[in-house]
Symmetry: C2
Subunit: 251 residues, 2 copies
Amino acid sequence: MFDAKLETAKIIQFIKDYFDNNRLYGAIIGLSGGKDSTIAAALMVEALGKDRVTGVTLPCHSKSEDATDAKRIANHLGIEVINFDLTKTFDTFKEGMAEFVGDEKECINSDINLKPRLRMAALYYLSALYSAKKAKTYIVVGTSNKSEIFVGYYTKGGDSVSDIRPLGDLSKEEVVMIGDYLNLPYDLVHKTPSDGLSALSDEEKMGVSYLDIAKYMEDPSLLEEKTRDKIRHLHESSLHKLHTATYQKDQ
Amino acid sequence: MFDAKLETAKIIQFIKDYFDNNRLYGAIIGLSGGKDSTIAAALMVEALGKDRVTGVTLPCHSKSEDATDAKRIANHLGIEVINFDLTKTFDTFKEGMAEFVGDEKECINSDINLKPRLRMAALYYLSALYSAKKAKTYIVVGTSNKSEIFVGYYTKGGDSVSDIRPLGDLSKEEVVMIGDYLNLPYDLVHKTPSDGLSALSDEEKMGVSYLDIAKYMEDPSLLEEKTRDKIRHLHESSLHKLHTATYQKDQ
């Protein structure tokens, strides 16, 4: 049984230890308005105090509600929040690419993954900038949870690139339990997960529910064969994202 | 003793096997004009044939000689080469960041690392675009060698993100031997390594020579204490780049 109180305390200690042992000072975290970044930010504040955490909203042709929710959580936690709009950068990049694109449909996948890659670049830019400004080391917080990582629901070179991942071993359901334990705004913690890039929810996009992913990670035999196969396929076909095929001399 | 002929054959087989086993078709590779991308591109062509390899020049406020050398190698290999100038994207990104920057000196580090991150985003954009266009899967080739990886001379979320790394287990000296074995243009294979982003060579930036790094990886006792300490420090202080500190429930 998942003990939200105990796990919360252990995660906070893990963050403190990592910062102390590596003489780090501050954390830069992208706030999407979704539950993962909301709860990860709250844990960082519990561990480091509100003055050492900076939230960043990174709109890129995005829905404005997401930025509003992100600001709400930043205010709730009492942390600094800055806004870096990536829309113009995205558009300039796309203009440069135009000569290689025949039909706009060809770049649907390219566009979807460009956004998290630009967000990653922005978070690392700010992390190095704050480190220089304050002469103290800042790092980038990753907000992926175990369920998303398991089925490959992330962008290689995008949201998968970070320095510390407080939620990396928790299922989506466990993340929610921590959010409730920390008394974070109910509607943010229980918001339908979505990447904010399309009208579809995460579960609609993946074709499986987070609850089924959690069950699979616990014990695949809990699921019907069809769901089990779907999740196994998502998992196996995404493993290449974690890995760079590297030639080894003595193979 | 390093056998360039044997290793070249083994690398080519490794690339072929990886593409066959994963039903991949094409390779997208950034051509900097430097020896690593030159030699990695040549190996990809040996393995896949020239029609399945696309070289990309990615200038970003760069020296024009580098793009010229990159085009020379592409012509030598007979591969398609496309140019995607990132200068405007870089500048647009910087304009958006301006409000957070007090003194330009604060963003020296941020700027240096933004370029390889934008290049990574461009290579993956093109890889997905070509995959859609040709209905066959393209992947991104990484050009890092073992010496650079060992001392952390790369950008996390930048040139370190790729799908296949043919040179990943070779020292800089071994890479050169393969370039000579493949009869690639002498001046490109023996060019002084530099990131093309500043006036300094790689060795000047790192403060150690590639030959000393190779010796250290072979047997640290071959080196004087001062050099040994310097390389150990570079190695140890860069290990965090390979790693994301991830909370584990049962720790």
